[in-house]
């Protein structure tokens, strides 16, 4: 393998991993506060379509990204009102959010099918971003660097800051946190909104960077893989980074084999790979749980009411 090939593979890998990393990191924060939001796929689709529509109309992918984050937050708030204020079943509400996202993105996106935009550009000057080797480090767009900074930021926030400690306390024991006087529901609203913003950004990465063209159901189940990644990470941001890049590698392999014209493996079998890998990873995690401890927040998915 030549170094040019290796560089190209790494570039694809990083790009493919970024939306997963963003969506999963947002969900990790929500779950740390005790909320299981299964609507990641729906929020990603809302972000993807909003990002594309705004970027197409304004000609600015930057404004598109901001719009995508807002769309993700807006979608997550539907979930929050139902699951947190009205104490609806979180599993069912998350599913509803995904069905909603599929419908809404398809309806709004109908007018954009086949339209293209200029994709997100690298941040660094061409001397660095187009350098044959150094572009592995300097050749990415803003979202890639943002996602890495967010991993570090979230990790620091959860482990080293007081608000981070409170957020974890709410997820571990909502009744006690409430008794001490922390606003459990408000904190969970904030965590869900953060998850929505990141899922929206992750979704927009599909429509603004990976395939700068609108197509129905662009995210193809990646939101669900992001949910599995949170389990894989054992709710630790550092391991989430590893997991997201591992999955990026699986998807890159799929693309590479397709590009290399591998014929003995049907393209449909390759397309199954990420989903089969997810099941395999979840199974391995459970096998590992017998040895180590899986640190799921104790109140994950349970409704909370103050009275």
């Amino acid at each position: 393998m030549t170094s040019a090939m290796l560089v190209s593979i790494l570039m694809t890998l990083i790009a493919a991993s970024t939306p997963l990393l963003l969506a999963a990191l947002g969900e990790l924060v929500a779950e740390k506060s005790g909320v299981l939001n299964l609507g990641v796929e729906g929020m990603m689709l809302c972000g993807a379509v909003a990002g594309f529509a705004v970027a197409f109309s304004t000609g600015s992918t930057g404004i598109g990204l901001v719009a995508a984050a807002f769309a993700g937050v807006a979608a997550s708030m539907i979930f929050a009102v139902l699951a947190l204020s009205l104490m609806a079943n979180q599993v069912a509400t998350g599913l509803a959010l995904t069905i909603f996202g599929i419908g809404a993105s398809s309806l709004i996106g109908a007018g954009f099918v086949g339209r293209t935009i200029t994709r997100l550009q690298p941040v660094f000057p061409a001397a660095l971003s187009e350098h044959p080797i150094l572009r592995v480090i300097f050749g990415h767009d803003i979202v890639v660097y943002l996602s890495l900074a967010l991993v570090a930021g979230v990790s620091w926030f959860l482990r080293r800051t007081r608000p981070g400690l409170i957020l974890r306390a709410v997820g571990e024991n909502d009744a006690s946190a409430h008794a001490i006087g922390y606003p459990v529901v408000a904190i969970r609203y904030a965590a869900v909104a953060f998850g929505g913003a990141l899922a929206g950004l992750g979704g927009a990465y599909f429509s603004l960077a990976l395939t700068p063209m609108w197509a129905d159901r662009l995210t193809a189940g990646r939101g669900w893989i992001a949910l599995a990644l949170v389990v894989f990470s054992a709710w630790k941001p550092g391991r989430l980074l590893l997991g997201a890049y591992l999955f990026g590698a699986v998807m890159t392999l799929e693309l590479q084999l397709k590009a290399a014209g591998v014929t003995w493996l049907a393209p449909e079998v390759l397309a199954m790979a990420p989903y089969l890998a997810t099941i395999a990873v979840l199974t391995m995690m459970s096998l590992g749980r017998r040895i180590g401890r899986l640190d799921a927040p104790a109140c994950l998915g349970k409704p909370f009411s103050a009275s």
Partner: protein
């Protein structure tokens, strides 16, 4: 000031009324949203929620769309009752159709009354096999059935694509990715002359009654409810959570598989890449609209089937895009979950302290 007060007992009135309130709110929100988007919102809602039920010639279509929804939702509801979240029914539906089609392709040159029952059996087994994987992983390794059953849906759909583009492609099909058309012995008989109403529709109704009797009148049904409501008490009472998971997953896989076979041997008459139509997901809404009660699910299936038929009407009457149907269905589920709060809580005025 408004405040919520927890009811001592869940309200029976609200248990029955909340689905109707949810439907009403969905119609209202739909009217507002689609008017805001520049469509004729009033007529859109009328086309989707009323026209299908007011025009008798559409009732057959409602039955055809409703039967698979009811069958799949029956299985899901039994699982949901026991806190078993099979959300991969779409995959089990596809695998049921694939298994049944396998029998159809094997028996292509044969004839006989036994072929269709053999296809049904294969459909049931195909769906069960696909549901057995998440059941096994959940029971033996505590892997969340939510994620595994869903992942397997994507795998099943890709498998379908592989078959219809590859080994199962109709040799006389002008290179279209589809299987042969089924023969007369492999197709569901219609029960009403001159309509599309096939055997699957009475079958869905009979299955609903059986499921109702099972849930309400047998110890097994009682055990499922107890496992869902109070896992600790269930363990104490000797009801096994593992056995409940197996039973509910296999039952819902069987029903989804049979629904898939009915769809393949009924309205489709072959397998094509268009076969996965999302019934497995819509059935989740049907299950909730029916309050996880088998007889309620028949009502839920009729309403959701109506929105499909009505969605097509709204496409021609007010040029509403097809995706709007999905949006209405999601809104309905949101409203159902929102109004559910009325069953357990009472809204009242808070007295100000003097």
């Amino acid at each position: 000031m408004l405040e919520w007060r927890r009811r001592r007992e869940p309200s029976m009135l609200m248990l029955l009324a909340s689905p109707l309130i949810a439907i009403g709110l969905t119609m209202l929100i739909g009217m507002i949203v689609f008017t805001a988007m520049g469509y004729d919102g009033f007529h859109a809602v009328e086309s989707i929620f009323l026209t299908p039920f007011l025009e008798p010639q559409r009732w057959g279509d409602i039955g055809v769309k409703g039967a698979p929804l009811v069958m799949i939702a029956l299985g899901l509801a039994i699982g949901f009752r026991a806190n078993v979240w099979n959300i991969g029914a779409e995959g089990q539906y596809v695998m049921g159709a694939i298994a049944g089609t396998g029998v159809a392709l094997l028996t292509y040159d044969m004839s006989g009354w036994w072929i269709l029952p053999a296809m049904m059996l294969a459909g049931i087994l195909g769906g069960m096999a696909w549901a057995a994987i998440p059941a096994f992983l959940r029971v033996k390794l505590q892997v969340s059935e939510i994620l595994t059953s869903l992942m397997l849906t994507y795998v099943a759909v890709q498998f379908l694509y592989f078959l219809v583009r590859g080994p199962w492609k109709d040799p006389g099909g002008f290179n279209f990715p589809q299987t042969r058309m089924f023969t007369a012995d492999q197709t569901l008989p219609t029960v009403l002359e001159g309509t599309l109403v096939h055997l699957g529709i009475p079958a869905a109704l009979v299955l609903a009654v059986i499921a109702w009797l099972l849930m309400e009148k047998t110890t097994a049904g009682y055990a499922i409810k107890v496992v869902g409501l109070a896992p600790a008490a269930a363990r104490h009472g000797g009801f096994s959570a593992a056995r409940t998971t197996w039973a509910t997953m296999l039952a819902s896989g069987a029903l989804a598989g049979l629904a898939g076979l009915f769809e393949a041997a009924g309205p489709f008459g072959q397998l094509t890449p268009q076969f996965p139509v999302g019934y497995g997901f819509t059935a989740i809404i049907v299950a909730f609209l029916g309050r996880l009660n088998p007889l309620g699910i028949v009502f839920g299936g009729i309403v959701l089937a109506g929105t499909y038929v009505g969605g097509e009407i709204a496409q021609s009457t007010v040029r509403l895009p097809q995706a709007a149907t999905g949006l209405f269905q999601a809104t309905l589920l949101f409203m159902l979950l929102a109004t559910d709060v009325l069953v357990r809580w009472r809204i009242g005025f808070k007295r100000r302290a003097a």
